[in-house]
């Protein structure tokens, strides 16, 4: 196949950091190419150089056989290269049609906007990827998956030859991910190359024709997916092999820590009963809207259940607020760590200790700063959070380390029951393995864990039982050791 883009010996360094060390990279016309690597491996820098946001320190860029001095942002667009970043860069207050057509209309100039033309451009772009959206809907009101389609349509209004998608699926529910992957294949059918950055190995294998792995600013390998498997890919990304062990629950007769009977909340979930034993990791999965997160929020007192019984260590408890849940020994690591989990501008110390300020009181009932800092240091060490000191703002940490901060802050509250909601979403492979290992360690020391996840493979490998919710009820329970990820997925998607 013909080459669209070739990079030769690209070097790029930032203050003190060598981000790309002489990278060679080629992209063929109309191929789907996945770019993988841990955080900080240089893949973001590479994207920024291809899209013209950054200039390389040295090296050569060849687009369609012609060497180009450097790619400025406008120049890249003229060459048919567009990037869709995770934040999508849409105008939430404008309509779908306006968002799709704005660049094109601006390009054509003229003082007066022809609204029929705007709608025509938008319709033409939607037709190319066979989607049909309401042109007058305000973009900010749409679900994230639909917004992403709007962003893709906007890119299609120009003469698109390469579309770069930077972690497009990180915040998408499962159904939308499949939708997006089929759109990606459609683009390819139109001869458009797609450079796809993702942490999710199963998607990469599902869609890629070639996979390029980066590590420490170098391209380690470019291979077709049939020459790779999960373990090999992880080994290439991290430079070491991970020993994968299936979780085994040691003591099936351990005491019941949590018992839930007939828990219901109208329009969310109904008649939910479950048990957690000490040392057990129970998986909970289901589609978005199946009620799994709502159930967790009810157990944590954010939006309490309307009826049913909750017992902790055999004693009935009323959970009407977060304070009630914490008093009962329940901790919840939320789904969206940026919004629900962390106060991003504040320090690691402030975040880790936020849940337990009342246990750090010294003389006169005042918070003891020395104990507060010591507690933060203790948890930074225990979870291996990579940070120079506890006063560093959380927003400067990588996704994996941020997630460890969220987990640390809840472990600091020394709960009996830990509810983890999507604990490894958007986290790179090594951090993911570290989080899994740590959670298993907690279970081994007697913690009861409820692991809510979208990834069937994560549930199968790290739990002993998997509960499957559909339409607000727990419909199936399977033994993880005997299950395959595909089987779980079928149950998740089965008609209720």
């Amino acid at each position: 196949m013909e080459e669209f883009l070739r990079l030769e010996k690209i070097h790029k360094s930032f203050v003190g950091v060598h981000a790309l060390k002489g990278v060679d990279f080629t992209l063929r016309k109309g191929e789907i190419h996945c770019l993988v690597g841990e955080n900080g491996c240089g893949k973001s820098t590479l994207i920024k150089i291809i899209s013209g946001v950054l200039q390389p320190d040295s090296g050569r860029i060849v687009v369609e056989g012609q060497p180009v001095a450097s790619l400025g942002s406008a120049a890249t667009m003229a060459r048919g290269i567009q990037v869709i970043y995770q934040d999508l860069s849409l105008f939430p207050n404008l309509t779908v049609a306006e968002n799709i057509a704005i660049a094109e209309v601006k390009e054509r100039g003229g003082g007066v906007v022809d609204w029929d033309e705007v709608r025509r451009i938008a319709r033409a772009a939607m037709a190319r990827i066979r989607v049909d959206l309401d042109l007058d809907a305000e973009v900010g009101e749409l679900p994230i998956g639909v917004q992403q389609l709007v962003a893709i349509c906007r890119a299609l209004t120009s003469d698109l030859k390469l579309l770069i998608l930077d972690e497009p699926t990180a915040s998408l529910p499962k159904h939308d991910i499949e939708n997006l992957l089929s759109v990606v294949r459609d683009l390819q059918a139109h001869g458009i190359a797609v450079l796809f950055v993702s942490h999710k190995l199963n998607e990469i294998f599902a869609v890629a024709e070639r996979i390029t792995v980066f590590r420490d600013g170098e391209r380690v390998a470019t291979l077709p997916p049939n020459e790779l498997d999960d373990d090999r890919l992880v080994a290439l990304m991290t430079g070491r092999t991970l020993a994968r062990k299936v979780f085994a629950f040691a003591d099936a007769s351990a005491r019941k820590v949590l018992e839930v009977r007939g828990l219901s909340k109208r329009n969310h979930f109904a008649d939910v009963s479950l048990e957690l034993r000490a040392g057990e990791i129970v998986g909970l999965t289901g589609l978005i809207g199946s009620g799994r997160t709502e159930l967790a929020l009810a157990l944590f007192g954010i939006s309490p259940a309307e009826s049913g019984e909750i017992r902790v260590e055999g004693k009935p408890v009323q959970i009407r607020s977060v304070q009630d849940a914490v008093a009962a020994g329940i901790a919840y690591v939320p789904e969206n760590r940026l919004v629900q989990g962390l106060v991003m501008k504040h320090s690691v110390e402030a975040n880790v200790t936020a849940t337990v300020l009342d246990r750090l009181l010294g003389r006169l009932g005042l918070v003891d700063p020395a104990r507060k800092q010591a507690l933060a240091r203790e948890w930074i060490k225990a979870l291996g959070i990579k940070v120079s000191n506890p006063a560093v703002p959380v927003q400067t940490l990588s996704g994996g380390n941020q997630q460890k901060v969220v987990i640390a802050k809840w472990l600091a509250a020394s709960p009996r029951i830990l509810i983890l909601d999507g604990p490894t979403v958007g986290v790179d492979v090594m951090a993911k393995a570290a989080i899994h290992d740590y959670v298993r360690g907690l279970a081994a020391r007697g913690m009861a864990v409820l692991l809510i996840t979208d990834e069937e493979a994560e549930a199968v490998a790290n739990t002993n039982r998997i509960l499957i919710m559909r339409a607000g009820r727990i419909r199936d329970e399977i033994v993880a050791a005997a299950a395959e990820a595909e089987q779980v997925q079928q149950l998740v998607e089965a008609p209720s």
């Binding site: 360094s13 203050v15 003190g16 950091v17 060598h18 981000a19 060390k21 841990e38 900080g40 491996c41 240089g42 590590r215 420490d216 600013g217 991290t238 430079g239 944590f300 954010i302 607020s321 977060v322 304070q323 914490v326 919840y332 939320p334 919004v339 629900q340 989990g341 962390l342 106060v343 991003m344 501008k345 504040h346 402030a350 975040n351 936020a354 849940t355 337990v356 300020l357 009342d358 009932g365 005042l366 918070v367 700063p369 802050k409 509250a413 090594m430």
Partner: protein
């Protein structure tokens, strides 16, 4: 967004530098009158009112809100005190003892706390935006204040009460001593109490704060009650310094208190702002105000000059930060050239 230079710890050093520069400038312009003990005493006498109002504004802003009712609450507090004195002591209010005066102050403080709690309740539980709630409260109180006083000035306060705002302990004005004590109390509150630490967390991200076992609503109610308590403190001082209360004293201070927060590095979107920065900011504003006044300028010109000085301060702050950034980058580049072989890896 607040400019980045105001959010960093170095911002306080910049503010301190600016303060020194202004003191030097004012002393040079007016060597007979500005750098004198008398002027220092006079400034420390005037400072507490603007400082208390600014601190009251600060706590509301750190929580991610604002308290536009801060002046109206202060005037209302003063009027409540005047009414209580009349009710208890009748025409002999001026001769009333410390007990009666303390009773009036307690009543005024209680009224302010109730108003603050009501605003906090509306903001926290009914979820009315702070700017609307406090604007409505300001309008309501301004009206109530006028209705009660019929626009007249109420005067005749007992000696004890006048002493709080007007008295001296040796060479030091009593209101200044109160300010020092309150600032120390605030330092403990903001850094060592659950409510104070929680205030910063919820101001930055109320959802995550709620998910972190923090009773967000209770903290908000307490925050606005505290903000109103600063209004009451302001009222105690104003009564002493003016020997009267009125429906609309000190209205121009509302924007000054917002300005002080901005200068002191409080993020208007909540979550950041230091007490040190606030103290430096109010002292700068006071020095500018007194310095320009002493130059005997046209009062209208003074106002314009004040605005101009603020603009210069902020522009200078930005410029300083830019220069520091450039210097940092240059130093880093030099360090790299000096050791071309050494690169810092980004991975494990």
């Amino acid at each position: 967004m607040i400019p980045a230079f105001l959010q960093r710890p170095s911002a306080n050093r910049t503010l301190a530098g600016v303060l020194v520069a202004i003191v030097v400038l004012m002393s040079a312009l007016n060597p007979q009158r500005f750098p004198t003990i008398g002027n220092l005493i006079s400034m420390s006498y005037q400072l507490p009112i603007i400082a208390f109002l600014s601190l009251g504004m600060m706590v509301a802003m750190v929580s991610g809100g604002i308290n536009l009712a801060i002046i109206a609450t202060a005037n209302f507090t003063g009027i409540v005190m005047a009414l209580l004195l009349r009710a208890v002591a009748g025409d002999a209010a001026e001769e009333a003892g410390a007990g009666v005066a303390l009773l009036a102050m307690g009543g005024g403080l209680a009224a302010a706390l109730v108003l603050g709690a009501v605003m906090g309740w509306l903001i926290a539980y009914v979820e009315v935006p702070a700017i609307l709630t406090t604007l409505a409260m300001m309008t309501l109180l301004n009206g109530v204040n006028l209705v009660i006083t019929k626009g007249y000035t109420l005067s005749g306060f007992p000696e004890f009460l006048l002493g709080v705002g007007n008295g001296m302990l040796g060479p030091v004005p009593i209101p200044f001593l109160i300010l020092v004590a309150v600032v120390m109390g605030m330092a403990v509150f903001l850094r060592r109490t659950r409510t104070g630490l929680g205030l910063y967390l919820l101001g930055s991200n109320p959802i995550a704060a709620g998910y972190s076992n923090l009773h967000v609503r209770a903290v908000l109610v307490r925050t606005y009650a505290l903000s109103s308590a600063f209004s009451a403190l302001t009222a105690f001082i104003m009564v002493g310094q003016l020997n009267s209360v009125k429906a609309n004293y000190a209205e121009s201070y509302l924007l000054v208190s917002v300005l002080a927060c901005f200068l002191g590095g409080v993020d208007p979107f909540g979550g950041t702002g230091t007490l040190t920065g606030m103290v430096l900011a109010v002292v700068i504003l006071q020095v500018v105000s007194t310095g320009v006044n002493l130059l005997r300028m046209d009062p209208f010109f003074i106002q314009a000059l004040w605005g101009f000085i603020i603009l210069v301060l902020i522009a200078a702050g930005f410029l300083g930060e830019r220069l520091r950034e450039v210097r940092r980058l240059r130093a880093a580049r030099l360090a790299q050239q000096a050791a071309p072989g050494s690169t810092v890896g980004t991975g494990p």
